[in-house]
């Protein structure tokens, strides 16, 4: 898959617009979700993901296949997120939306409870310090390996382990009442 991405980037650098569109369609949702889980705001997340792809498109000729496209993308998104977080004093906002509202089969009470838990989890994660939050987002939600996450964050695997341990300890305390 990594080779396929590198091939697509190579073709994009030679002017193949469809190749870049394919990369966009493969990774855009992931980029949005990394930013969303870091910032807690859908619009800002989408803006950052767009910006990341625009920058990658502009620098497509300089892309080196030595690094995986996904790692490269995560790095760009992470940098933009960190910059955005510096500019915004408050990271979180917006109520969880109605993503499941079309699903009429689901019991309303269960949905409300799930929504409440989702909100609690989101708030607890958004209260973490930036680096701990990033570590949790990349490992838990993006399911990256420690090595890939450390590379994307530009830190050592040991440092990542330490961040994760602190993040999970903090979350365990914050969500103690909801862990059954």
């Amino acid at each position: 898959m990594a080779d396929y991405d590198a091939e697509l980037m190579k073709r994009a650098a030679l002017g193949d617009e469809d190749a870049f569109a394919t990369l966009f369609n493969r990774y855009y949702a992931r980029a949005v979700n990394v930013a969303y889980r870091f910032l807690g705001n859908r619009d800002a997340a989408e803006d950052i993901a767009m910006d990341a792809f625009a920058r990658i498109y502009e620098g497509r000729c300089a892309f080196r296949a030595a690094s995986k496209f996904s790692t490269y993308l995560y790095r760009v998104v992470i940098n933009l997120c960190l910059n955005a977080a510096k500019r915004r004093s408050v990271v979180r906002e917006e109520a969880l939306s109605d993503q499941h509202e079309s699903d009429s089969q689901v019991d309303l009470a269960a949905r409300a409870q799930s929504k409440e838990i989702s909100t609690l989890v989101r708030d607890a994660i958004l209260r973490l310090p930036a680096n701990q939050r990033l570590a949790i987002v990349l490992i838990t939600y993006e399911e990256l390996s420690y090595k890939a996450a450390a590379e994307a964050m530009g830190i050592s695997v040991k440092a990542l382990e330490s961040l994760l341990h602190r993040a999970k300890t903090n979350l365990r305390k914050a969500l103690a009442d909801y862990m059954g």
Binding site: M50, Q99, S118, V121, T140, L164, L175
Partner: protein, 153 residues
């Protein structure tokens, strides 16, 4: 393996990042140590709990990206005018300076003309040195009268 070491490994174990020799050693420890087993269970429940934050669905697509790229190109073409940055900075400073100076000049207050003591003295036929005090008083009267008449108008 002691509890301190086990605690450090539990998070990696839950994330599936522990190599098999360490997995074996940790599992032996967990089977014998109930506080560590409890911590392991808690971290496992935590992972399940935080996985409940649903992902978001993007609203935009590739066409929006094309528009974003075009927008960035427009901004770049404007900022890439053939004037070096240092020259643009100097020109800006000069124009600010000119504007500032012109502003000061145009805002300088125009003083109303009032007759001096000597002028009044000569008008009313007093000698310059003898009756300067009287002339000064008269000048004061004149100013008061002219202010009042100005106010009436």
């Amino acid at each position: 393996m002691n509890c301190k070491k086990a605690e450090r490994l539990i998070v990696r174990y839950v994330d599936g990042e522990l190599s098999s020799p360490l997995v074996d050693r940790l599992e032996v420890h967990l089977s014998a140590c109930s506080p560590c087993r409890l911590k392991y269970e808690e971290f496992k429940r935590l992972s399940k709990l935080i996985a409940q934050w649903e992902p978001t669905r993007p609203a935009l697509g590739y066409e929006a990206l094309r528009e974003r790229i075009r927008q960035r190109e427009r901004v770049r073409s404007i900022s890439a005018l053939p004037v070096p940055r240092w020259a643009a900075a100097i020109l800006s400073l000069i124009s600010i300076g000119i504007g500032f100076t012109a502003g000061i000049r145009s805002e300088r207050p125009v003083r109303p003309h009032t007759a001096s003591v000597n002028q009044v003295a000569s008008i009313i036929g007093l000698s310059q040195h003898d009756d300067l005090v009287e002339a000064a008083i008269l000048t004061g009267f004149r100013n008061v009268i002219s202010e009042k008449s100005g106010a009436k108008r």
